[in-house]
Each structure stands twice: as C-alpha cells, then as structure tokens.
C-alpha cells in the first residue's frame, strides 16, 4: 500500500474519534483512548507493507514526500511513542479531569487522546518531508496541536503558564523557520531540499548558510537544543505528564528527523559541509554542557528529566556533527536512529515511573522517591535500572546510544565536544544517582506500601525488560533501523 495512506489513516482516525467523543457519556471517555491505541497499532502493523506511494503520474507530489528507510523508522518510532503516550494518559486521566472539568467525571478528557493522533500524523509527515514547504506545513500541524496539549489542564495555573510560554516561543521559532526558508529559496530558487543541495555554489553559499542557520535555530526548538532550549524546563514541568513525555520523545525525534533532512544536502556537498558541521558541533557541545550542568541543582524530577532531555539532544547532535555516510560503516543517520530508539524506551519508562510516583505521593519532587526501596522494592529496582540506563551505565540499553554517539564523534575527531560530552556524562552520574540515593539511602516519612496500577506496572516492567535485554544484546535495534 502507498505510504501516504499511513498519515491519512491516523488523521482520519483522529477525526472520527473526535466526532464519536461528542456522543459518548462523560464516564466512558477512556473508550476513546483505547480506540486511539487500536488505530495507532493497526497503522503500526501496516507500516510493514508500506511502499513508496506515488506513481510516475504524480511527479508533482513526489517532490514533497520522501519515503526511505529513515522515514519509515521515524514513522514507526512516532507511532510507538504515541501509543505509549496514550497508555500513559489513560492512567493519568484522574489528574487530567481534576483540572479540566468535574473531577468525578471524565468529561473533557476525550479530546486529549484525539489530539495526540493529529500530532502523530504531523510528525509522521515530517519524517517524509522532502521539501521546505511540506516540512513547514507538517511542523505547524504538530506544533499547533502541541500548544493545546501543553495547556490542556485549564484549571491548573502551571499548565496554563506552560502553554503560554510554549505558544510565544513556538511562534518565535516558526518566525525563524519561515525567514530561513525565504533566504534559502531566495538563494537557490527552489524549496526542494535535494535541488537546494545541487544548487550550492560559492556565490550563494553565504546566503544559504544564513538561511540554514535560521532554520537550524528553529529546529533547535523542536529538538530541545541550545539556543532554543529555554522553554523546556518550564513547559515540561507545567504540562500534563503524558504531554511532557510526548514532547520529550516524539517531538524531539521528529525534530531530528527533519534536521537530518535539512542538513543532509549541505553535509553531502563539499562547499558548505565543513561550516555546517562546525555549527552543529558547537550546538552539540553547548547543548551537552548546558543540559547536564543545569540538571545538577534540580530538585524536581520532572525538571530533571527536562534538562536530561536537553542533554540527550546534545548527545544526539554529536553524530550529526560527525556526519558520515557510506554503506560499509555505521552512518550518522543510523546512530541517531539507534539513539532515539533507546531514548524512547528509557524516557517513557521514566515518565511512567514519574506518573506512578505522582499518583501515590502527589508530588514530582525527587524527595517523593525517598524510601521507595522499602515501600515498593520491585518498583524501586526497576526505577534503579531505568535511571542507570539514563545515566548510561554499561549493560543497560542507555549505554549503547551514548557509546555509538561518542564513537562517531571520536572517529570524526571532534575532540572539544567529546571532552564536553564526557564531562556531561560524569555530571549525569551525579544528578541521576540522586534518585537512587533518595530511593535507597533515605527513609520515607510515610512507610505505607505503594500501589501501582496494573497497566502502568506492566508497561514499566516491559520497558525495563527491554532496557536490560537490549543492554546485553543491542543487535535487534539494527534490524529495526534496517541496516
């Protein structure tokens, strides 16, 4: 089946569910979530039969829509991330309804699940964007949906504040993007990325570089990298937890998917490649340093994860800066895909744990983890493994991502970012281990046992199992990337 049907199916599913939502009784809105998971799962299965869509008669559309192994990987990643987000939202609906409508009904939670489908469709399209115009449209579909998702808890001041911040900075970054696209179009006379790559000359290189820098700034907003990282801690902290998880995984992955698309023609050419690689290396180094160092004093776990997501964006930028193509060795695209696949597992596991902690203690602070080792030893053990993976301990999946990123950077001789990276990892040990310290070395005031809902529990257990298995045997991820 043609690959563009995937996006259409997700979009159609979202619209149908939105209409259905209006007719459902307030107590049964979770039906929407389950149907959404079902739709996404079907689409995920269908990706295995997807092929390049447009025939020769549709030349005009072909230039807007690329379909290759990278696109397919990012589509699947987005789908999995959205499924996990909706599962997380399902267990989070009590908190959600508390801040939207009547706490005793589920009124007002139904739309929340549908919005993820629209964002997901936008991200899947982003993965296939071959033209700056389609890139912009797909990006805006996602971003505008995200504004609503962030500010969804309308009776919660934090959520509203986060929504406003996100809106203002998002609009700013969109401005950068359009301005950058205009420069690139002006310099080459085309918006198609492949054609831009062919039209780089000594004369227009300065204008192109300026345009590309503007686009990169805007993409940094999506990726959560320096210099557009400022929104992350506040928005992550204020937004409903499922939205935060969605932003930190799916949105970031989509950001990297289009970043690869945009910089690829420049890095494969010869004229601008060194300069673009240099800009990326600077961004990587700065992002790693800032994300990791700013994470150290954090006392709130959600904020800690926000800075950790900035830091991870820096680590993912490393292989992008160390651009390698060719089929014999590991390419940068594969390293990024590999890293993001692992990042998805660890980050979602961490957010599921956070949601469980929040339901039981009503707090997102690190101090809420105190005494977890005694209150729920199994959950504490799984959390310790997840935190270890985030810190990058060997024999957990988290290690491999950092390992490959560093290897790519060392092979490319990016010494300064590599040194900063190692400082970052060392700092990471410090701030991640604060959680382990709280769980095991401190005693809780409240000794009552912790309860975990079965859905969350089994999801955490599955993700933790994946972290351990992939930590010893990461080869399956290569199969998914298709190398």
């Amino acid at each position: 089946m043609p690959s563009y049907l995937l996006e259409i199916l997700v979009l159609a599913g979202g619209l149908v569910l939105l209409i259905l939502e209006a007719f459902l009784s307030p107590k049964r809105k979770s039906v929407i979530a389950i149907s959404a998971i079902f739709v996404l799962f079907i689409v995920l299965l269908l990706t295995f039969w997807a092929q390049k869509g447009f025939g020769s008669e549709n030349v005009e559309l072909t230039r807007y829509y690329a379909f290759d192994s990278t696109a397919l990987f990012f589509k699947r990643l987005t789908l999995v991330a959205t499924i996990l987000t909706v599962i997380l939202a399902l267990d989070y609906r009590k908190v959600l309804s508390k801040f939207t409508a009547n706490p005793n009904s589920e009124d007002g939670t139904g739309e929340y699940y549908c919005l993820f489908l629209f964002a997901c469709a936008g991200m899947m399209w982003m993965a296939s964007a071959a033209d700056l115009v389609s890139l912009f449209v797909a990006l805006e579909l996602t971003t505008i949906t995200s504004y609503i998702l962030v500010g969804f808890m309308r009776r919660n001041v934090g959520s509203l504040e986060a929504g406003v911040k996100f809106l203002i900075l998002g609009a700013l970054s969109t401005g950068f993007l359009v301005y950058g696209i205009a420069w690139m179009y002006g310099a080459t006379g085309t918006t198609n990325l492949a054609e831009i790559g062919q039209n780089i000359t000594e004369e227009n290189s300065t204008y192109l570089l300026f345009g590309l820098s503007l686009v990169l700034i805007s993409l940094a907003f999506k990726m959560g990298a320096v210099p557009m990282h400022l929104w992350i801690p506040d928005v992550y902290q204020g937004a409903p937890t499922p939205t935060t998880a969605f932003l930190s995984v799916a949105s970031k992955a989509a950001g990297f998917a289009i970043a690869i698309r945009v910089v690829e023609p420049f890095l494969n050419g010869s004229i601008l490649a060194p300069k673009v690689a240099f800009i990326l290396a600077v961004l990587a180094g700065a992002t790693i340093l800032l994300g990791n160092l700013a994470a150290i004093p954090q006392k709130n776990f959600k904020r800690l994860l926000a800075y950790s997501s900035i830091a991870n964006a820096g680590f993912i930028l490393l292989p992008l800066a160390a651009w390698q193509t060719g089929d014999s060795d590991l390419t940068s695209k594969q390293v990024i895909a590999f890293y993001l696949a692992i990042y998805l597992i660890m980050t979602f596991a961490a957010f599921f744990v956070l949601a469980v902690i929040h339901r039981n203690t009503g707090s997102d602070e690190i101090s809420a983890f105190e005494g977890l080792g005694q209150r729920n030893p199994l959950l504490a053990l799984m959390t310790a493994i997840i935190i270890g993976a985030l810190a990058g301990l060997p024999l957990t999946a988290g290690f491999w991502g950092k390992f490959l990123a560093f290897k790519a950077a060392i092979d490319a001789g990016l010494w300064v970012p590599v040194v900063l990276g190692f400082i970052g990892v060392a700092a990471g040990f410090y701030y991640y281990f604060q959680i382990i310290r709280a769980m095991y070395w401190r005693n809780a005031l409240d000794e009552s046992p912790f309860e975990t809902k079965p859905l969350s529990f089994y999801t955490i257990a599955t993700l933790t199992g994946l972290i351990v298995v992939l930590g010893i045997w990461p080869q399956p991820i290569y199969w998914l990337i298709g190398s």
Binding site: I410, V418, Y440, I472, Q475, Y478
Partner: protein, 494 residues
C-alpha cells in the same frame, strides 16, 4: 562453560530476590562457583571454556568469554575464592538478607565477568555491573559515615570509569581493529602520537579504580564503612580489575606509557611512602586496612613501571608474573584482614585501636589468623605476599649489571622502605589489638572465640596464602604457558 561462572551467581541473586532463602542459595551458588573455578585449573585451555557471540555488528562487539591467558585464570581463582568466603562472612542485618546476599553475588558475577571477558567492551561493562551493588551496599548497609563514603566512592569511581571509557574508545578507534576482541586489538598497532594521549587516559582511568595516588582518597573511608563482604570483594578482587586491564592492554600502548614513566614512578612512590606514612597514623583498624590496601597497590605499579621501562613482556619477563602473584596474594590477604576486622568489630563492638587490647587471651584462634594475615601483608617469607614482593623487587633490578642506578632501581630501593612501614603499622596494630592486658571490650567474659562456621572461610583464605607462599610456582607455572594456538597443537601431534 565460562558463562556458567557468571550465570550461577546472577541466577542465584535473582532467585534470592524472588524466593528468599538468601543465605543457603548464596552459599550453594558460591560453593559451586568455587568448585568450577578451581576445577578450571586443570582444563582451562580446553575449548569448552570459550564462547563468542556477536551482540552488535557495527562496531563489532562480542560477548566473548574464556580464559585469555594464565593471568585471567589466576584472577578468576582469586574471585571465586574471595566470593565464597565473602558470602560466608560478615553479619547481615535482620530482614535485609535478600539485598545483602544478592548484592554480594552480583559483585562477584561482575568481577568474574570482567576477568573472563575476552572482549574489551564486556571487560569494561562487567566491572561497572559490579560497582552498582557496591555503591548500594555501602550506602544502605554500611556503618559509620556510610552515606558520605558511598557518595564519594560513587562519584570517584564513576568519573574514573568515564575517563577510562574515553581511553578505551580512543584506543580501539586508533588501532583500526575491526572488532573489540582482545586478540584482534593486541594484533593491531597504534601510531605513537596517539599512544601518549591514550596512555594518559588509561593511567588516570584505571588509576582512579586502583586508587593510584592522588586519586586514592575514596578508598579508605569506603572500605571502613562498607559491610565486610563488600570490602573483601572490592579491595580483594574488583580493585585488581584496573591492574589487570593495564597489563592486558600494555602491548598496545607501550611507547605511549614510556612518556608517562617518570610521573608514574613519582605517583607510585607516593602510594607506597606517603600513603604508608598516613597508614601509620591511623587510629582505627578499618581505616588502617583501607589505607594499607591503597599503599600496596604501589608495589604492583612498581612492577608495571619496570615493565614500561623494559619496553615489552619479553624484555622483562619477571614483571608480569610478579604483579600477578602480588595481585593474588594481596587480594587474599586483604580479604582475610577485612573479614577478621569485621569479626573483631562484632565481638568487641569497636575497632578503635585505643579501645582494644589483650584480645588474644579471649580469642586465640582469631589472634592467630589475624597474625598470619598481618604477617602476610607485611611480606613475611613463606606467605604469598612475600613471593610477590620479592618478584616485584627483582623485576625492578632485571638486567641491571652494576654501574649507576636507573630510575627504576632507585624507585625500587625507595619502595623497599615500604616494607618497613608496613611492618610498623601492622605489628603495632596487632600489639594494640591482641597483646597486653585485656580491657573492658575484650575480656573473655563477653568475647567468644571464632565459631566453627566462621573458621571455614578464614581457613580457606589462610591456606591459599600458605600454598602460594610455600610453592609460588603453583601460580607461576600457570603464567608461563601461553594458551596453545591450534597450529602449535597440530605440530605437537605430528
């Protein structure tokens, strides 16, 4: 087969977490491991021990296990002996059996994995696996300033590991080797310019893990507050990981190491003399032992320095055997000392030297074993450490033909003073603890001698010290024979 050595403790630990019956499962698992480990001495060259399974294709990383050479074998023997005795010693706090025994088994599994790995990646990774339970145990079940000590050791060792990892990735990247297997790596060569930087990272990275001066300050407080089995396993076994790694990777960076020889000699002398003097000044038995274990690392570094000076294993054939024998001897003796110190703590309630005295009257067997381990640690002939130290000093003077003294010879002569320092602090500690009149904590009314169950692990360690001390060839013979390559065996058949 070698996978068994790692899987048994891991599965036992998981079983303990699931089922309970912690002590018996742990003891049985450690005993089976001990038997397999000792049994491997007779068959270690056989192919059944090796496995190799590619877990990642690009870069090519294998879960490859086996006895790479005699050094691996000796470290594995050390690990299984100490693991078994660690499981049997120490007193677990009520209600924490699951955590206690599963952590010990995880540490043991990590150490065994590191020494059995024939792939550089898993060599590194298994060591990290062992560190996590170490941190948790010190932080949760340690004594005294446990949280401070645990936090400090976590930060130090994590930093050391990161630096080490940077060095290892650079090493593999510069070597151009296709895989991370030791055999491929050691067959490749690295440009001399890159070697200097790699060697520096390796010395600092491994150095932090071995507690090389000035990165040693985590060691004494950590060992002092760690539960006895953890101190035994870390000081006895895990710390040797760094030295093992240096000797293993040395041929790849031999010229790079040469650039740092001067620095290394200064640092190792600081380890022996400076830390030695610090040790004399300790007022507590446990911190004294912690410092003494830091100090003794200096001798092994001395053998390493002699090796660097000579330039290759062939040019100084004594250096590696000397280091390996001393690593083994030190591992056994420090494990025994930590175990007995813990016994003293439990029986008298204190390890302050000033509050002890005359314990020999109430606990003669304890006094005898402590004396034996202390003498071994000083380097009394007939005990294992003596063989190691003598070999180290001899390796310092290898191919010295009179004339002016080289830097290694001067370092060796200075290091000899370390033996005197050890004698001072160890004998003084022994006198303070066991000789003289009994005091309140140590009179025979409330101190009982060793029970039979506690004697078994102590006896095993003491026997190991004696066997290697009287007949060091038992280890040296294992080191002489390199694993026979298939081609050679064919020739032998003809």
């Amino acid at each position: 087969m070698s996978l068994l050595l790692i899987l048994i403790p891991i599965l036992a630990a998981v079983a303990i977490l699931m089922v309970g019956k912690a002590k018996s499962i742990a003891t049985i698992a450690a005993l089976v491991n001990l038997i397999i480990g000792l049994g491997s001495v007779f068959s270690w060259k056989h192919e059944v021990w090796t496995i190799s399974w590619e877990v990642l294709s690009k870069p090519s990383i294998h879960l490859a296990l086996g006895f790479y050479d005699g050094m691996s074998l000796i470290m594995v023997i050390l690990s299984v002996i100490v693991l078994f005795t660690a499981v049997m010693s120490g007193k677990c706090p009520e209600g924490r059996e699951k955590l206690w025994y599963s952590s010990i088994l995880f540490i043991g599994a990590g150490a065994l994995g590191a020494f059995l790995s024939t792939d550089l990646f898993f060599f590194y990774a298994f060591h990290e696996l062992a560190l996590i339970p170490t941190f948790l145990m010190i932080g949760m079940l340690g004594s005294g300033e446990r949280k401070e000590a645990a936090w400090k050791v976590t930060i130090y060792l994590a930093l050391g590991s990161i630096v080490l990892l940077a060095g290892l990735i650079w090493l593999v990247s510069a070597s151009g080797s296709e895989t991370w297997l030791f055999e491929d790596l050691l067959a490749s060569s690295i440009a001399p310019e890159a070697q200097t930087g790699i060697a520096a990272l390796l010395i600092v990275g491994f150095g932090v893990l071995i507690s090389l001066f000035p990165f040693h300050s985590w060691a004494a407080p950590a060992y002092a507050s760690a539960p006895a089995p953890v101190a035994m396993l870390h000081a006895g076994v895990l710390k040797k990981f760094g030295l093992y790694g240096l000797f293993r990777l040395y041929p790849m960076v031999s010229s790079g190491m040469q650039d740092w020889l001067g620095w290394l000699i200064v640092l190792l002398l600081c380890n022996i003399l400076w830390v030695g003097l610090v040790t004399i000044n300790q007022k507590r038995l446990d911190t004294m032992l912690g410092n003494s274990s830091v100090m003794h690392m200096g001798y092994i570094f001395l053998a390493f320095a002699a090796l660097i000076h000579a330039g290759s294993f062939e040019a100084n054939p004594l250096a590696k055997p000397a280091a390996v024998v001393l690593m083994f001897a030190h591992g056994i003796s420090i494990a025994l000392l930590f175990m007995l110190t813990d016994t003293i703590r439990r029986k008298t309630g204190t390890v302050e030297l000033a509050e002890l005295g005359g314990l020999a009257k109430a606990a003669p067997r304890l006094a005898f074993l402590f004396g034996l381990a202390g003498m071994a640690s000083i380097g009394l002939p007939g005990l294992a450490n003596f063989s190691g130290e003598v070999l180290v000093f001899l390796s310092g003077f290898w191919e010295y033909e009179g004339g002016s003294l080289g830097c290694i010879q001067i370092a060796t002569i200075l290091a000899l003073w370390g033996v005197v320092i050890s004698a001072v602090y160890m004998l003084r500690a022994y006198r303070q603890t066991f000789q003289g009149p009994s005091v309140e904590h140590t009179n025979s009314e409330h101190v009982k001698d060793f029970g039979p169950f506690c004697q078994i692990p102590a006896a095993i360690l003491a026997i190991a010290l004696l066997v290697v001390g009287i007949y060091p060839n038992s280890l040296l013979n294992l080191l002489k024979e390199e694993p026979a390559a298939p081609a050679q065996t064919e020739q032998a058949d003809k």
